[in-house]
Amino acid sequence: MDKDFKVEITSDVKKVTKRIAFIKDRDAARVKKVDEDMVMTFPNLVIREIIAFQVMVIVLVLISLFVDAPLEWIANPEHTPNPAKAPWYFLGLQELLHYFPPVVGGVLLPSLAVIALIVIPYFKINLKKDGLWKELPRQTLTGFLIFVGTVSLVLLLFRVYAMLVPTIIVSTFMLIPYFSKRNNIFIEWLGSRPLSWWIMTWFVIIAVVLTTIGTLFRGPEWSWTWPWQRIY
């Protein structure tokens, strides 16, 4: 068949009384989407929820049987441990405090991160599904270079290599589809990532790197310490 449409006849009276539909091949995905497959919640979803819950409880019980929650000496305000660390999910922040003044590292940056997360769905830029270089690639490149350049410079000034290195790596990956002459699946995939995807990925990588450094690589006076060098 070299026509670009198919003829289908539906007999489902609940949907249409009588109709001949011309479904063009290239529209097929859309048509499928409107008419999505549904299944009964009971048992299909309920059984999955129960299994997921049980697996989670089993894993938790196993961990709890073999690893004890820590308990140190009774709190003593006179005796400051070195270093004094917050719980792990704040160690990324504590790591920021090591580089920036407290108002920036402890207040400004975390507040900005939470606000940025909250407003994500309200900005057009985050709703776009097109790849970064799809529209106005020239202007995008200029804006991109100015932004990344400024950020990198600030990070260099404060010597925040833990953020600078991920920034440069992510930017490089962003530039590959723009400059690359060759094309393969990977480059094509990179090129199809929208801007919001890149920003979130950059944010997550930095959060993970900072938290890991704060948790595993910081010793007395917040100096760089390998995990196996720690005495406590």
């Binding site: 048992p43 997921a52 308990l71 009774i74 709190a75 917050a86 108002v103 207040v107 997360l117 769905p121």
Partner: protein
């Protein structure tokens, strides 16, 4: 056997509780969902695509499951715990050496709490990378971010309760970060939170009330809205 079972399912007592027969037809399967208080947040039918494990990775559901485990183990821990100095620490030692399965109970609560912070974060990433924050789900995303902050606060307020060196200095470091807020706001918030200028017994009582009552109630309310909105926004 089957006969006894059938009789049971048809009895008035059973029917007064469940109001429907065994879920053998699509009609009774639907009834199993919407006649059940715990399931009625679910629609009777769901998209095949959205219950595929590799779409959600079950992360939202597991976050909720961890919360339930935390409520149960937390209530049991409350039976043995007094939020005062130095009893709090002594009670931890008692849990460790005197209460039967006390250490196990504490372990469950502790590891579930850490896991919940991580899993909720991963759930947020899943929602982002599947683009599920797009209209009409944008407000549920906002509630989600607030839930994430709530989860961290829950974990953080619990961190002080054992009253050991980890607790004390962990909370001291955190409240010092708050103090860095400009225009005296930081000082004010930290004073309000600690009931004083240092991490002492007042702080312990405040963190206890926040941890065991105020924040969990807020979290439950937010979760209820979160789940209800998933339905209203057209499902996952």
């Amino acid at each position: 056997m089957k006969k006894i079972f059938d009789r049971l399912v048809r009895s008035q007592v059973w029917r007064s509780i469940f109001r429907h027969g065994l879920p053998e037809s699509n009609r009774t399967r639907a009834e199993a969902i919407f006649f059940n208080f715990f399931f009625h947040l679910h629609p009777t039918k769901v998209r095949k695509r959205s219950i595929k494990f590799t779409y959600t990775w079950g992360l939202g559901g597991i976050s909720f499951g961890l919360f339930i485990v935390l409520v149960i183990t937390g209530a049991l821990l409350m039976l043995y715990y007094r939020p005062s100095v130095p009893q709090a620490y002594g009670d931890m030692k008692d849990l460790q050496f005197v209460v039967s399965s006390g250490q196990f109970l504490r372990n469950m609560h502790r590891w579930a709490a850490h896991a919940m912070v991580a899993i909720v974060f991963l759930h947020m990433l899943r929602v982002f990378y599947t683009g599920s924050y797009r209209p009409p789900k944008e407000f549920n995303w906002v509630i989600g971010v607030i839930l994430f902050v709530t989860t961290i606060l829950l974990s953080y307020t619990g961190y002080l309760l054992p009253w050991d060196q980890l607790s004390f200095w962990g909370i001291s470091v955190g409240t010092n970060m708050i103090r860095a807020m400009p225009f005296g706001i930081g000082e004010m918030i930290s004073f309000l939170l600690l009931g004083g200028n240092i991490v002492g017994e007042n702080a312990l009582v405040r963190f206890y009330v926040l941890h065991c009552f105020i924040i969990p109630v807020a979290a439950i309310l937010l979760m209820a809205i979160h789940f209800w909105r998933i339905r209203k926004d057209g499902g996952v």
